[in-house]
Amino acid sequence: MRSMAYFPYFVAGWLMVMGAVGIVWSRNLVRAIVCLSVTQSGTYVLLLAIGYQRHAVAPILGAQDENTRPLVDPVVQAMTLTDIVVSAGVTALLLAIAVQVARRHRTTDPDQLSTLTG
C-alpha cells in the first residue's frame, strides 16, 4: 500500500520519458508533435496525483455531500485544465509549422531537413 501511494508519480515520469524518447525516435515531424503531447500528458498526471485525496468528491460545491466528505484539490485541476487548452493551441501551431516544412522541403523527416535553403 505504501508503494502504491507514489505509483502515479512514476506513471507521470514514465509518460514524460516515453514522450521524450518518442521525439528523439521520430522520423516524422507529426509523430514528434504527438510525442510532445504524450510528454505533456505526464504533467497532467503529476498535477492530478498531487491534488487527489482518497474518498474525496469532485470540487463542485453543492453537488454532493461535501459537508461530510472532503473535496479534491481544485487548484491543480485548474492548472491541468488551462494546460490542456494551451497545449491544444501549441500543438496546432506546431502542426502548422510541420505543414509549412512539408510544403517547402517536400519531407517531414527531421533528418532530411539539414540543408539550408534561402
Binding site: 502515479p8 528523439v24 463542485i60 481544485p74 510544403r103
Partner: protein, 240 residues
C-alpha cells in the same frame, strides 16, 4: 551523429530517472488528507459564491494567469493561421470536396450539430456552477460546427462559418477579458478584481465576474478553434 544523439538522449533520461527516484519520496503521498491549497481555494470560492471551485481558481483567484493563458492560445491560433496562409506562388487552394454521404450520416450530423452547439454554450454559461467553462465549452461549440462538413459538404460549412465575424469575435474575447479586468481596476481598485455582486452560492447569477470571464473566454476559444480548423481544412497537400 545518430549514435551521439541517442547517447545524449539516454544520458538525459538516466539523469532524469535518478533525480526522479530521489525526488518522489519528498512529494506528498497520493490520496493524502493534507491539501493546504485546497482549503484556501475552497474558502475563497465559498466567499465569492462560486459553486465550481475550479472556475473560481481560474477566473477569480488566478484570473491574471488565465489572461496569460488565453493570450497564449490567442497567439498560437494567430501564428498557425499566419503559417497556413497560401504562399505567393501558390494559387488559391482547392477546397476539400466531399464524396457521397449516406442519408443516415447526414441526418445524424445535422441533429448532433444542433445538440453540440447547445451543449457547448450551455457548458460556457454554467461554467461557474458545474464542471466546464469557457475553455471547454468554446472547444465543444467550435469543433461541433464542423459536423456540418461531416454531414454535408464544405460549402455548407462555409455558409454557417462567417470567418470575418469570427475574427472579430476572437479578438473581442481577449479585449473583453482585459476590459473586465480594467473595470475591476476602476470600480474596486485592482486589476481583475471580482467587483460584481456575488449573488447566492449555486444560483445562476452568482460568482460575480467568473461567469462574465467564462463567456468572453468561450467566445475567444470557440472562434479561434473554428478559424484554426478552417485553415487546416484548406490545406491540400500531396505527399510523396
Amino acid at each position: 551523429m545518430k549514435r551521439l544523439r541517442w547517447l545524449v538522449c539516454w544520458f538525459g533520461i538516466c539523469t532524469f530517472g535518478i533525480l526522479l527516484i530521489f525526488a518522489i519520496p519528498g512529494l506528498p503521498p497520493v490520496g493524502d488528507v493534507s491539501h493546504p491549497y485546497r482549503d484556501l481555494a475552497v474558502r475563497a470560492a465559498v466567499e465569492h459564491a462560486t459553486a465550481n471551485t475550479v472556475a473560481s481558481v481560474n477566473f477569480d483567484t488566478r484570473a491574471f494567469d488565465t489572461l496569460g493563458e488565453e493570450a497564449i492560445f490567442f497567439t498560437a491560433v494567430l501564428g498557425a493561421i499566419a503559417l497556413l496562409r497560401p504562399a505567393r506562388h501558390e494559387k488559391d487552394r482547392r477546397l476539400p470536396h466531399s464524396g457521397r454521404v449516406l442519408a443516415s450520416t447526414r441526418l445524424a450530423g445535422y441533429v448532433f450539430l444542433g445538440i453540440t452547439t447547445v451543449v457547448g454554450w450551455d457548458v460556457v454559461a454554467h461554467g461557474h456552477l458545474t464542471p466546464g467553462g469557457g475553455f471547454q465549452g468554446g472547444i465543444v461549440a467550435g469543433s461541433g460546427l464542423h459536423l456540418a462538413y461531416v454531414a454535408g459538404n464544405y460549402s455548407v460549412l462555409q455558409r454557417i462559418r462567417p470567418l470575418r465575424l469570427l475574427e472579430i469575435g476572437e479578438a473581442a474575447g481577449v479585449v473583453g477579458f482585459i476590459g473586465i479586468g480594467l473595470a475591476g481596476l476602476v470600480c474596486a481598485g485592482s486589476f481583475l478584481t471580482n467587483f460584481v455582486p456575488m449573488g447566492i452560492l449555486g444560483g445562476f447569477l452568482s460568482g460575480g465576474t467568473v461567469a462574465l470571464l467564462n463567456a468572453v473566454v468561450g467566445l475567444e476559444v470557440g472562434c479561434g478553434v473554428v478559424m484554426l480548423l478552417s485553415r487546416f481544412l484548406e490545406q491540400d497537400l500531396v505527399m510523396t
